[in-house]
């Protein structure tokens, strides 16, 4: 069997699974799976850029996803009236001051001669800078959060169309990646992993706690959409007539229409990114990246700037993840900081990359769609298994109740088992690197 035939077959299999889901559980669920599957595929492509093509171990995917989500709020939500004059400028000034303090400390570190004076000077700059920063910052934050705290209490966004937020999400993620890359790249691979894990927890903590920025755990709801609203479609007589002509009632037709509109937007982004990634990886640049991955010492001896190239691809991969994060918050049309869980947003993406085939963009896309389908479907399957297992037991028997409650936790277990099985028996994934 040729690889092309096999790969087409694998994508065909995913299509069959989704069509089966549509027929058994309804097309709404099938389309939801496709939408999140497409987003997951983009995230997997981002991780694949870093891991598959450069061997960089990033386990802070969640943080970059969340930054993308934050971008949608900052770009598309309306500005909360009065907050800028109350404290917005003050907060921005505080942040600028904080950045200036850090730059000053770095300059001191680079310019001053080694010794105690240098350490003391740096410490003094950082400590004094911190207190001044807090003094400027706290009052501004308080003023912003006091403005109608129940419904806003945050700066709001710029009120721009939400599609602009997608690239901006990528830019935010790229900025964070630059900071991490500057500090942790070039050290041992595990250190980068820990650094990314740490920064992602911090990003989530910031989004959860800085109410002036993201409303924190009060969530931002009703983020504007790039597509039509169901309710408007249902009121549109032309749409209702056409839906009836196709044999749908107006409500089902409108939900399906909205989901398909999202799916086509996501597909466009996926195809653009795929095209770019394929072009890049088949270029001299891509060959250089793989050469660095396979033998850093040799590549360095050939005059390649290993650290610089690593930084570059780390930033690019993170930007892709950030774009996907912005798309996901757009689809949810709300930012819920508590929903960012590392197992779901970091480690599941890794399962997608490893299962799909690291080092191959099509593999990442296949892995993203397939694993997402499994992630959704394991729950009903788990319930079904537990119902079958516990059927002979008496009602009210403790084990029966426990097993039925525990079915919800089958997801993590099955994902772990799949990852371990693939690593053991097909370590190069379903669609291996050529």
């Amino acid at each position: 069997m040729t690889p092309v035939l096999k790969n087409t077959g694998l994508f065909g299999l995913v299509a069959v699974l989704i069509i089966w889901t549509g027929q058994v559980y309804g097309w709404n669920l099938a389309l939801t799976i496709i939408n999140y599957g497409l987003i997951s595929a983009i995230m997997a492509m981002g991780v694949n850029l870093q891991w598959g093509f450069a061997g960089l171990f990033n386990i802070g995917v969640m943080g970059f996803v969340a930054l993308g989500g934050l971008a949608t709020v900052l770009i598309s939500m309306p500005t909360t009236p009065g907050t800028w004059s109350a404290g917005g400028f003050r907060v921005i000034a505080a942040l600028l001051f904080g950045a200036a303090t850090i730059v000053a400390a770095i300059l001191l570190q680079k310019r001053m001669a080694k010794g105690k004076t240098k350490a003391l000077a740096m410490l003094a700059v950082l400590i004094a800078g911190f207190f001044v920063f807090r003094w400027i910052f706290d009052a501004g934050v308080e003023a912003i959060e006091d403005i109608d705290a129940a419904s806003t209490g945050y700066l709001g966004g710029l009120g721009l169309p939400i599609l602009i937020a997608w690239p901006i999400g990528g830019v935010l993620a790229a900025g964070a990646a630059w900071v991490i890359g500057k500090t942790a790249l070039g050290l041992r691979s595990d250190y980068l992993a820990i650094a990314t894990l740490g920064i992602s927890e911090i990003i989530i903590a910031v989004i959860k706690n800085e109410d002036w920025l993201s409303r924190g755990v009060k969530n931002v709801v009703a983020i504007p959409r790039p597509v039509a609203y169901e309710i408007d479609l249902q009121a549109n007589q032309e749409f209702v007539d056409r839906a009836e002509g196709l044999g749908f009632d107006a409500i089902t037709a409108s939900t399906l229409y909205v989901k398909m509109a999202y799916a086509s937007l996501f597909l466009v982004v996926l195809l653009i990114l795929l095209w770019l990634a394929q072009r890049a990886l088949n270029s001299p640049w891509g060959r250089m990246m793989r050469a660095i991955r396979d033998n850093e010492v040799a590549a360095e001896a050939m005059g390649k700037d290993v650290k610089g190239r690593h930084l570059q691809i780390f930033i690019l991969g993170s930007a892709v993840i950030g774009i996907a994060g912005a798309m996901m918050t757009t689809l949810d049309s709300q930012l819920t900081p508590t929903s960012y869980q590392p197992l779901r947003y970091t480690f599941l993406i890794w399962v997608m990359v490893i299962v799909g085939g690291s080092g191959n963009n099509f593999g990442a896309i296949l892995g993203g769609m397939l694993i997402w389908w499994l992630w959704v479907m394991v729950e009903p399957a788990g319930n079904w298994v537990m119902a079958t297992v516990t059927a002979p037991m008496e009602d009210g028997y403790w084990l029966k109740d426990h097993l039925q409650d525990a079915a919800a936790h089958m997801r993590l277990l099955s994902m772990g088992v799949i990852l371990l099985l693939v690593l053991r028996f097909a370590p190069r994934g379903l669609i291996p690197e050529k």
Binding site: T183, I194, A195, I199, P342, F347, A406, L412, G416
Partner: protein, 336 residues
């Protein structure tokens, strides 16, 4: 008098909690550092290993409690701990046999083992949630306080109380015993010496006839003991929740790296460095300040450097500083 009050407030809110937390992190970091030194990979499943060990101990504790067994003033979990360690040890050995052994035989790259550990982490996490659920579980019984804050105030006549909880004392004593045993084992016994030899130079150790599988087996057993003890102590001190244990991974790794990966002494030092910085930076110093400062300087602000929600940022910050200025850690660890 004010100085004394300030000192007591400092001890009560910063020093004693920091000490207990530091001991728990140190035990966790020792497990990570041992695996790194001997099996040569970063074990991301360590937090979930701790969760598994604690879960088995909790289940045995419940069984003992239902039989009416107890240790009087001490928590029953202490009695269940050896059994919990045994269960976890068997579980880890089983994991090694089914999963890690294959990659060892292949001499897989460390980063592949890290990804394998990620899969193991998923599975452990699933098993723990499957068996005991995701709720917060308190399993401490027996006497709560050795000295309660109120008794202390009455005894000394100070405004501030120094409450010493039973769990704090147990944490410190157990951790000290565990560390003493570990160091005795590593430095004095034949097996311990062979482990250190294996960690220093694998080829040389193999040449001198050390059986690698035996070294690996003993390592997993020690890791099971350390992880379970760390997890149970943390759970007794606070409470058990599967997700919290997963999140402990960050401070534990920070402690191990700050100390120097592969160095047991460094892991202990790292644990306390991380714990004390976390507590001091997230503590509201208002009370201590107002006792010490002259009256005119008294303040109503909290004097809290960072809110407690950012405690991860603290361990992360320390980690970055150490990585930038001393990449091998405080005590020279291995750097592959």
């Amino acid at each position: 008098m004010d100085a004394l009050n300030a000192l007591v407030a400092f001890l009560n809110f910063v020093f004693v909690p920091g000490l207990a937390y530091g001991a728990q992190l140190a035990l966790g970091a020792l497990g990570v550092t041992l695996i790194y030194g001997i099996l040569r990979f970063s074990n991301f499943a360590h937090g979930d290993t701790m969760a598994f060990g604690t879960m088995s101990t909790i289940l045995i504790t419940w069984w003992f409690q239902s039989m009416g067994l107890s240790l009087g003033p001490l928590p029953t979990a202490l009695l269940a701990l050896p059994f919990g360690i045994a269960v976890t040890g068997l579980f880890l050995l089983g994991t090694d046999r089914v999963i890690y052994k294959f990659y060892r035989a292949q001499k897989a790259k460390p980063v592949i083992l890290v990804i394998v550990a990620m899969g193991v982490m998923f599975v452990y996490n699933g098993i723990v949630r499957f068996i005991i659920g995701t709720d917060d579980i308190g399993f401490s019984d027996g006497t709560r306080f050795l000295i309660s804050a109120r008794d202390f105030k009455e005894m000394t006549g100070l405004n501030e109380g120094l409450g010493i909880r039973m769990t704090t004392l147990i944490t410190l004593v157990t951790a000290a015993v565990a560390v003493a045993l570990l160091f005795w084992f590593l430095n004095k016994t034949r097996t311990g010496k062979s482990m250190r030899a294996f960690s220093d130079n694998e080829d040389l150790a193999l040449l001198s006839g050390i059986n690698p599988e035996r070294v690996v087996m003993v390592t997993w057993l020690i890791v099971a003991a350390l992880a379970t003890t760390a997890g149970v102590l943390y759970g007794l001190d606070k409470s058990f929740k599967a997700f919290t244990y997963f999140q402990l991974l960050l401070p534990i790794f920070a402690a191990a790296i700050v100390g120097g990966l592969g160095s047991p002494l460094g892991a202990i030092a790292g644990g306390f460095v991380i714990a004390f910085s976390e507590v001091t930076i997230t503590y509201a110093w208002k009370k201590v300040w107002n006792y010490l400062a002259p009256e005119a300087w008294e303040t109503s602000s909290l004097i809290q450097l960072l809110s407690t929600d950012y405690k991860f940022a603290v361990s992360f910050g320390i980690l970055i500083i150490v990585l930038l200025f001393r990449p091998t850690g405080l005590f020279k660890g291995q750097s592959v």
